[in-house]
């Protein structure tokens, strides 16, 4: 879902971090794409290729995180790669998603941060 437009938003934030740190080259952009985030890692990587000239030395590291949930009936917590709408313990449908539904920027690693120039 909208991997390219999300990437544009993400890379604006990465560029701002670069500027804050004297324009050092980006070595790695680490993101987390939850299984319920709507972001497909392969599509995100493909979209990132378009921006390679702006970040020639950067790799995009995508961690896929499982969905975590908590049952509002029996309070059982669990994680799942595919969303299930009922609690595996008591089989009630009152499931609260507690994680795995976000697309997050985790960290930006700058190369040779003491010197560098903007691309």
């Amino acid at each position: 879902m909208h991997e390219r437009s999300l990437l544009v938003t993400l890379l604006k934030q990465v560029s701002a971090i670069q500027v804050e740190h004297g324009g050092a080259a980006v070595q790695e952009i680490a993101v987390e794409a939850g299984s319920l985030s709507g972001v497909e890692p392969l599509l995100l990587q493909n979209a990132f290729l378009e921006f390679a000239p702006r970040f020639p030395e950067a790799i995009l590291s995508i961690q896929r995180t499982p969905v975590t949930a908590r049952c509002q009936t029996c309070h059982h917590s669990w994680s799942m790669d595919v969303f299930l709408s009922e609690c595996p313990a008591c089989h009630q449908p009152r499931v609260q998603i507690t994680g795995g539904d976000e697309f997050r920027l985790i960290s930006v690693t700058l190369k040779d941060h003491d010197r560098g120039c903007l691309p």
């Binding site: 879902m1 999300l6 319920l36 709507g38 709408s85 920027l105 985790i106 960290s107 040779d112 010197r115």
Partner: protein, 223 residues
């Protein structure tokens, strides 16, 4: 020189989410219930808003932000009935908070009891973008099939209400209201489900009463 790792650990859409939360807070303070309608193209969002405006007949102050890829057709239908701003996305398949903020700023007043946001016809992408609403409503028409809630879990999980529209066609289509309701409630047990026919104004009173109740709860909760 060694690499430097800068920890961020924030949602990529953090700024947009903050903006949506801020707008929601200001609407709450103004006692404006914001209702976000999501459906496939042609399920009846605009017809429902027309029916709502006609039912209330200015007893409540309502305004509409309506999103489409192109044309102002929906705004042309709604403007005679309620203050309306057309948000033309020019290609984007869903509304985002920046467009909402822009559209909202164009109303001559902020004193509305209800603000309706009619999203672009799409059951997928709108589920992922917070528009500052208090109430998110999924609409399905009976011609779309009663298996749809399970196929769009993210939308139904993030909604508070589910409207089954075009009930006048039930005798002619293989749609089970019971099956669609059951499917939706598995995903979101707290959904408020209503069946109606917008263009024939059938059961609009139930929908409008639900909205008034929701607004009263908003006011009571904020007091």
């Amino acid at each position: 020189m060694s690499p430097m790792k800068i920890e961020v650990n924030k949602p990529v859409l953090h700024e947009q989410q903050q903006k949506a939360a801020w707008l929601r807070q200001s609407w709450t303070a103004q006692q404006t219930l914001v209702v976000h309608l999501v459906s496939s193209p042609g399920a009846g969002k605009t017809s429902l808003l027309e029916a709502t405006a006609r039912f209330w007949q200015n007893r409540y102050r309502m305004a509409v932000l309506v999103g489409d890829l192109a044309t102002e057709r929906d705004a042309e239908r709604l403007s005679p009935l309620a203050p309306t701003q057309q948000l033309t996305t020019g290609g984007a398949c869903h509304l985002e908070i920046d467009l909402i903020e822009q559209g909202w700023s164009k109303f001559p007043t902020t004193s509305y009891d209800f603000l309706f946001i009619e999203n672009v016809g799409n059951l997928v992408c709108p589920a992922s973008f917070d528009l500052g609403e208090h109430l998110r409503v999924a609409m399905l028409s009976v011609t779309e099939g009663d298996d749809k809630p399970g196929k769009y879990p993210k939308l139904f999980r993030t909604c508070q209400a589910f409207i089954i529209n075009k009930a006048d066609l039930l005798p002619y289509v293989p749609f089970s209201v019971e099956a669609a309701t059951r499917d939706a409630l598995i995903i979101q047990p707290d959904l408020h489900v209503m069946t109606l026919c917008a263009w024939r104004n059938e059961n609009i009173e139930t929908w409008c009463r639900y909205l008034v109740d929701q607004r009263q709860q908003l006011i009571d909760g904020h007091a």
